[in-house]
Amino acid sequence: MGLHVIVPVKYVPDIEKVRFDVKSGRIDRSSAPGEINPFDLNALEAAVRIKEKLGGTVTAISMGPPQAESALRDALARGVDRAILLTDKRFAGADTLATSYTLACAIRKLGSFDLIICGEKTVDGDTGQVGPEIAEHLGIPHIAYVSEIREVSNDRILVVSDLGDGYYLVEMKLPGLIAVTKDINVPRLPTLRDKLRARKAIIEVWSADELVDVADVSRFGYVGSPTIVHRVFFPSERGRKAIIFRGVDAVDKLVEVLIEEGLLG
C-alpha cells in the first residue's frame, strides 16, 4: 500500500547572486550557480514524511535545462525514490501555462499517483500559479497555501489552508494537489551518506518525444506560451530623503520629523 506522491521541483538561479540582463530581459544564468527552489524543499519534506508514515514512493519531476539534474540529485538525497528530468529545447521559454501543461502531461505519463505536493512558488518566477494549473490540467482538486497537514490516509488528506480571511480546516479526496507554505515543516538536511547515494542514483531523462502519446507538442515551450515579456526595466527607486540622525538628540529629531510628516496625528 502507501501513497505515490509526486513533487514537481524547479532548478533556479541562486537569487542572491544572479544578475539580470535588462537588454535581453532574461536572467543571466551563467552569472550564478543554480540550486533547487528553496520553497520546494518544504514540499519534498512533506512528501518524505508522508512516505515515512504510510509507505509508498515519492517521485520528483523537474522541467529545465540539463543542469537541472543537480536539483533532482538534491531531491534524491532528501529521500525521493525516483527522479525525472524533462529537458528539451522544445520545452524552453515556457510560461506558467506551458510549464504546467508539460508537467501535467509527464505526470499523466507516469500513470497513477495519489498526491502532488508543490512549493508555494519559485524564487525566480514568483507566481505560485503552476501548482493549481497542474491540478486543472489533470482535472483533480487542489488546496493552496497549506500550512499544516493534519491527517493523510490512502484516499483523503486533511490540511489547514489560508483562504484569505483566516485559516481553515479543509479535507480533500485523493488524487489531489496541495501547495505548501514555509510553515509546513523545517526541511531536514541530507546527510553525507544520502548525498553519496544520490550521486549514484539514476535520473531518467525525458524529451518531448517521450510525451507525444499524452501531449500536444505545440503546447510546449515558447510556442505554447501565451504570455510574452514585452519589456523590462529597473524600477526608478522613489527618491528617499535619506536623512540620518545619530547621537543624543537623534530620537528628539526623529519625533520632530514624524510630527512634521503628520504621522503622529
Binding site: 501555462l97 507566481t127 493549481p132 487542489h142 493552496a144 483562504l163 527607486e237 536623512i243 540620518i244 537623534a250
Partner: protein, 325 residues
C-alpha cells in the same frame, strides 16, 4: 460580446477592498477598449451587496447565490467563472492577488486555455490598443511589461497598488442573478475555520517591524509597545518568524506580506532584497540600525544610527511624555 470582468472576492458577505480597486482599474481599461465592465460575485446571501460593485464602476454584476458557494472552493468557483467567460467572451479578467485569487485564477486560466500574469501592480492599454500587464520580477528588482496573445487576458493584481477607488452612489447598473449549475462534489470540503489571522498587515497604516537586531523573543514586547503608542501593528523579518518568535502573519517580504503603510519603522533589520520586496513602497520609511552601512538606510527617508536597545526605549519614553497611549 466583449468586456472586462472583475472577480469580486467576498468573505462572509463582505467584499474585499481589492475588488473595488480592480473595478476602478477595470473601468479605466474598459473605457479605453470601448467595452463594458462586468463584475462577478459568488457567495451565499450576497445579492444585497452587489450594488456596491456598481457604485465602484461595474456596468453589470452577475451574482451567483447558492449555499454551496458560501465558502471558497477553487473547483466550484472556477467552473462558474469559466462558464461565464465562455458565454461573455471578455477581453480581460482581473482577480486580486490574494490567497483566494491566486488559488482560483490559475484554474480559470487553464480552463480557458489562456495566459495568466501573477501579482501585477498595474494594467494598461498601450498605443496599439494592447493590454499590458505590469509586474515586479526578480524579487522586485526589475519591472516587466507582459502581453498575452490569447483571450481573455487574465491577471491577478496586488492589493493597494492602485489609487483608492471612488464610490459613486449615483451610478446605475444592472444586477443579474444567475441560476448556474453548481458542482456538488468537487473532492474538497471546507470543514471549519481554525483561526483568524492575527493581523492584517496589508491594511495597516503604521507598521513597526523588527529583525535579527532583537536578541530575545521577549523583546518583541518593546516593539509592540512602540507600535501601540503609534497606533500601528508589529511586523517582522523572516528570521524571527522562522525562529518561532512571532507568527507568520507578521512576516513582511517576499515570502510574507507585501505592505504599503504610511509609516514603516524597521528596527534591527538589515534590508535584504527579500525584505525590501515587501515594504519598499511604504510612504515614509524609518530605519533604526546600529550599522551605518546597513542597506536599509538606502531606502529610508529617516534613519537613526544606534543601538535599538537604547533608541527604542527612549522613543517610547518620548512618546509617552507627549501624552500618547
Amino acid at each position: 460580446m466583449a468586456g472586462v470582468i472583475v472577480f469580486a472576492e467576498q468573505h462572509g458577505g463582505e467584499i474585499h477592498p481589492v475588488s473595488f480597486e480592480l473595478l476602478s482599474k477595470g473601468r479605466e481599461v474598459a473605457d479605453r477598449l470601448g467595452v463594458e465592465l462586468y463584475s462577478v460575485l459568488l457567495g451565499y446571501n450576497v445579492k444585497n451587496i452587489a450594488s456596491e460593485l456598481i457604485y465602484y464602476g461595474a456596468d453589470r454584476v452577475y451574482v451567483f447565490d447558492n449555499p454551496l458557494l458560501e465558502v471558497f472552493d477553487p473547483v466550484r468557483y472556477k467552473h462558474i467563472i469559466a462558464s461565464l467567460a465562455i458565454r461573455k467572451k471578455p477581453e480581460l479578467i482581473l482577480f486580486g492577488a490574494t490567497p483566494l485569487g491566486r488559488s482560483l485564477a490559475p484554474r480559470v486560466a487553464v480552463a480557458l486555455n489562456t495566459g495568466l500574469t501573477a501579482d501585477c501592480i498595474d494594467i494598461r492599454v498601450d498605443e496599439e490598443g494592447d493590454i499590458v500587464q505590469v509586474r515586479p520580477a526578480f524579487t522586485g528588482n526589475i519591472i516587466a511589461y507582459i502581453k498575452t496573445r490569447t483571450r481573455p487576458v487574465i491577471a491577478t493584481v496586488r492589493y493597494r497598488v492602485m489609487k483608492p477607488p471612488r464610490r459613486d452612489l449615483e451610478r446605475r447598473g444592472e444586477i443579474i442573478v444567475e441560476e448556474a449549475e453548481v458542482l456538488e462534489d468537487t473532492g474538497i470540503k471546507v470543514l471549519k475555520k481554525v483561526r483568524d489571522k492575527e493581523v492584517r498587515l496589508a491594511d495597516s497604516e503604521i507598521i513597526v517591524a523588527c529583525g535579527r537586531g532583537l536578541r530575545r523573543p521577549e523583546d518583541i514586547r518593546m516593539i509592540e509597545e512602540l507600535a501601540r503608542l503609534l497606533g500601528g501593528e508589529v511586523g517582522a523579518s523572516r528570521p524571527l518568524v522562522d525562529e518561532g518568535w512571532i507568527s507568520r502573519d507578521h512576516q513582511i517580504g517576499f515570502s510574507g506580506n507585501v505592505v504599503k503603510p504610511r509609516l514603516y519603522i524597521a528596527c534591527g533589520i538589515s534590508g535584504s532584497p527579500q525584505h525590501l520586496a515587501g515594504m519598499r513602497d511604504s510612504e515614509v520609511i524609518v530605519a533604526i540600525n546600529i550599522d551605518p552601512s546597513a542597506p536599509i538606510f538606502r531606502v529610508s527617508d529617516y534613519g537613526v544610527i544606534g543601538d535599538l536597545y537604547e533608541v527604542i526605549p527612549k522613543l517610547i519614553e518620548k512618546l509617552r511624555s507627549m501624552g500618547r497611549g
